[in-house]
Amino acid sequence: MRKVTVAKKILIANEEFANQNRRFLSQRKIPCLNVISSPGSGKTTILAKTITTLKGKVKIGVIEGDIQTDIDLQRIQATGAPAVQINTEGACHLSAAQISAALHKLPVDDLDLIIIENVGNLVCPSALDLGETAKIAVLSVPEGDDKPAKYPAIFSRASVVLINKIDLLGVTNFDIEKVNADILKLNKGVKIYPLSAKTGEGMQPWCNWLEGIAAKRKQ
């Protein structure tokens, strides 16, 4: 037997596309966020509400990732924001190559911010770099307060965690203090915004953060 040392990154092809996306975005000074959560956490509702709240202040373009259908695309387009749908046809995550193609379909030069809504899945999307500026994790109250402990990869890599559906706090035994503590244990620099996209409660601090990163890039 003969051993050959290779020492090569396996996801190098994805990484090359991710670096290309990063260059494309930084040349145009557009921040890009990769939103990751379980299915049903309310990503699309948060996005639609965010776009409406920031109308006239921040021009947002959206890349929608779903296994099938353009239901989410239609919900985003109803807000008036430019959006592109990617259907992964079974794959549990978006890849950097898919984002590269989608970026060229958006009117990027007219945008202040691009938001990618990844396929609903708390595990796989966190393993693939898309070339984004930051990852945003969404956790909703009905999912339970044990998720940061059970799925540490995404909560340790996210720059922001949105805790959605706080209007349901009273009818569940979700312990928001425990969630905050578990997330901070994994990720000291993270920002946590509890909100309800349905009632609008807590949306403003999150929208202010977005406005801040969009403005910072333009300077």
Binding site: V4, C92, A153, L186
Partner: protein
């Protein structure tokens, strides 16, 4: 099941080396970080399925899972982190910083002697 994506990239990487070495590969060693979310069994199953009828058919995969490393801000010690007990094993300090996760690497390939 992002293991299928990884298996495809892995097959391409090993196949490139097989063409270079012009020999039959027997096994390959890969390593990955704990946050990479790679399940060993699923990756082996995916690789077996997609390597059928290629030069890599029957190749045995050895996967090393590397623990998450953390650094203590109090004593500067670096240690393998147990997420359920996130303090420094040396000084019990709680102010720790998670170090970047190990990348997914194809470490080495073993070939039959030509």
């Amino acid at each position: 099941m992002h293991e299928m994506t990884i298996a495809q990239s892995l097959l391409e990487a090993i196949s490139a080396e097989v063409r270079k070495q012009n020999a039959k590969p027997v096994s390959a060693k890969i390593s990955c970080g704990a946050f990479g979310g790679v399940n060993n069994e699923v990756l082996c199953f995916a690789f077996e399925a997609i390597s059928k009828d290629t030069a890599c058919e029957g190749l045995k995969l050895y996967i090393e899972q590397k623990p998450i490393q953390a650094k203590c801000k109090n004593c500067s010690g670096v240690f393998a982190l147990d997420l359920h007990k996130p303090n420094c094993p040396n000084c019990r300090g709680e102010d720790i910083e998670l170090l970047p996760d190990a990348p997914l690497l194809l470490e080495e390939i073993e070939f039959e002697e030509g």
